[in-house]
Symmetry: C2
Subunit: 389 residues, 2 copies
């Protein structure tokens, strides 16, 4: 049966991986309903033509004439602007990829969720900053939420949710980043160039720094607590520099189930696209004999306070995770522009969390307001600290 698909964020990295899988899928397996992108009319139109989408929508209204022109004669509808994005997200589709990054992705993802069906979630903020709102929408709409980042998708694959009482622990793996074996003194003096050298994944600067501080794992810990039926104290982080094991689930009978693979986003996206079945993905297969060894160690709480801060934010609830996320983004941007020391990233996050406490966040607009307030506070705190020499 043909599955209708909408992609929110069709021209970004996750969106392109999704469209590559759709193009390689057997004829008739998928039909594309809506493709949504930010600004790039040419790329969006080209993708919409290749996938024979019914509608292509740009978030930026200024791009509408270029989009119309690029789609002329294709029979594909064109639209633009924030309202058009929400409308496209709300059009009936069996499966939606929510891959618009940051706060901009929240309203479209929620609109897709509220009309039911399956939402593959690549937008981190949805669960970190607006977790309770999203989970309520899932329940109200009878929708299905599938995680598509490697770690949570791995846990989803290893998790049998039939009887949550039999799940003892969920284990998120972490590469440990470029400072896995560094001393505190080395980390204090770390430059942006040193910090972006991620050992396994090739990523953008922001997420590379999050890997170096392990704030990425802190955010994933918060997401995991939203997604899976286990209490936060049963979610652990395990350092695993080869990043071959993406996640594990410990069961009460002693079984530990794990999902492994090469670092390629197409695997978790393919899993979500075909779920509860599977589909082919043309990714490299993990060759354990060639890899030779997998290493594991416990994360160091002294050098990586991000994990403790994430647990604190999770336990505090309300707006605390939003504050953590916003303060971290501000601190990372300052570190990248050499206006903050590496170890001060966690310090800025912790102080921002302390100052702003745990305000309630009952709506997406409240989340977006708190995000802005936390950014302003984090900027103030960061500017009061000395920049690195």
């Amino acid at each position: 049966m043909t599955r209708t698909v909408t992609i929110l964020g069709a021209t970004g990295s996750v969106g392109r991986s999704t469209t590559a899988l759709l193009e390689a899928a057997p004829e008739g397996a998928f039909a594309v309903e809506a493709l949504v992108a930010g600004r790039d009319a040419a790329a969006l139109a080209e993708t919409a033509r290749r996938l024979r989408a019914r509608i292509a929508v740009l978030a930026d209204p200024a791009g509408l004439p270029a989009l119309r022109e690029a789609l002329a004669g294709s029979g594909i509808e064109a639209a633009a602007g924030p309202e058009a994005v929400i409308e496209a997200a709300a059009r009936p589709a069996d499966w939606t990829m929510a891959a618009i990054v940051g706060a901009a992705g929240l309203h479209p993802a929620l609109a897709a969720l509220r009309r039911g069906g399956t939402l593959a979630l690549a937008n981190k903020e949805a669960l970190v900053c607006a977790g309770e709102i999203f989970l309520r929408a899932v329940r109200d709409a009878g929708a299905t939420l599938l995680p598509v980042d490697s770690e949570h998708n791995a846990i989803f694959q290893a998790l049998d949710a039939r009887d949550p009482a039999m799940v003892e622990r969920i284990i998120l793996t972490a590469s440990g980043g470029p400072f896995r074996t560094a001393s505190l003194a080395e980390m204090r003096a770390a430059t942006p160039e040193q910090a972006v050298r991620h050992p396994v994944w090739s990523m953008g600067a922001k997420i590379s720094i999050d890997s170096a501080t392990m704030f990425n794992k802190g955010l994933e810990l918060i997401e995991a607590a939203r997604l899976f039926p286990v209490s936060p104290d049963r979610i652990e982080v395990l350092v695993h520099p080869q990043s071959a094991v993406h996640g594990l689930v410990q069961y009460a009978d002693g079984s530990l189930l794990a999902q492994l693979g090469t670092p390629d986003m197409r695997t978790p996206i393919a899993h979500a696209l075909a779920w509860p079945n599977r589909m082919r993905a043309d990714v490299a297969r993990l060759d354990l004999a060639a890899l030779g060894r997998l290493e594991f160690s416990a994360p160091d709480p002294v050098r990586f306070p991000a994990l403790r801060l994430a647990r604190e934010a999770l336990l505090a609830g309300g707006g605390a995770p939003t504050i953590l996320n916003a303060a971290n983004e501000v601190a990372v941007a300052r570190f990248l522009s050499r206006r903050l020391g590496f170890l001060d990233i966690a310090r800025v996050v912790e102080e921002t969390m302390e100052r702003l406490g745990t305000p309630p966040v009952a709506s997406l607009d409240a989340v977006i307001d708190l995000d802005a307030a936390a950014r302003a506070e984090a900027e103030r705190i960061a500017s009061s600290l000395h920049a690195p020499a």
Copy 2:
């Protein structure tokens, strides 16, 4: 709902692990129908009383008076002899553990299978020597066959059989045994004392030698080909000295699912007992951070010809696996009594297979006859070889 359970081989190692799990299970989860043992009337009666079984049966008829006496006043029925064993196996039960070792276990396991329900299979010969007969019985009776050795249970846990076309490979892990890194010259001169030193599992002499030759993995390869919906060329063996990963399944989307755990038979037995749910088992949890590293390598076909011989037996079909298994048992016994060199074990197996070809085996009695003929032939071949110095 209470699940009724019969244990064929209640006083052996697998049987004792099973009864330990039943005793620790919540009141009312299980009710024991029949317990069957070989000769040990006292142990059988004691177990039957503890588990409040309805009937206890000894294979050895001479033990009946002792069993009757030990069960006096308990209300538990007592019986003995091969016919009584078959009758006990055929009594209605939701779940049966088939853990009588060797050829003696074949008829009782088949009797249990034919009355339907779930059969947890610990008897290797059932699938290696009588695979086609057992699989036909599973289909005819609409029964469910669950593997309870660590490797196949691991694969069963990692396998989603919904769409076999999406399963690319099944990977059996092997510890590599005591000669994993030995030279061919060292293996040629190996003594029984050196060969039984298994690095991970504590096992009997026969199975320790099978681990040293990797014939255990060859037999498991044959079992895996019977149990799982993949062709033999898609079943691989991966050497993994820590034996923490018990089995893996490679899917077409790039996902590799694995089951890990400490080496404790109670985990796979608990999995089979509770399947498709799970139950608690008081086994040590695998601590990957404490273990530190997992190693993997491809098996060496020169030093370990057992894997090739098993593949050849599997492809030949008919009685070839029976011949391989019988010849191996003879050769191992001779090696243990210093009447055969270590490397000659595989040589005896290969020559026996060459001489006897691929006779058809249409019934359990034909299997048992061929087993005897192969043993005799293997003895002749082995005695024609020089004993080690």
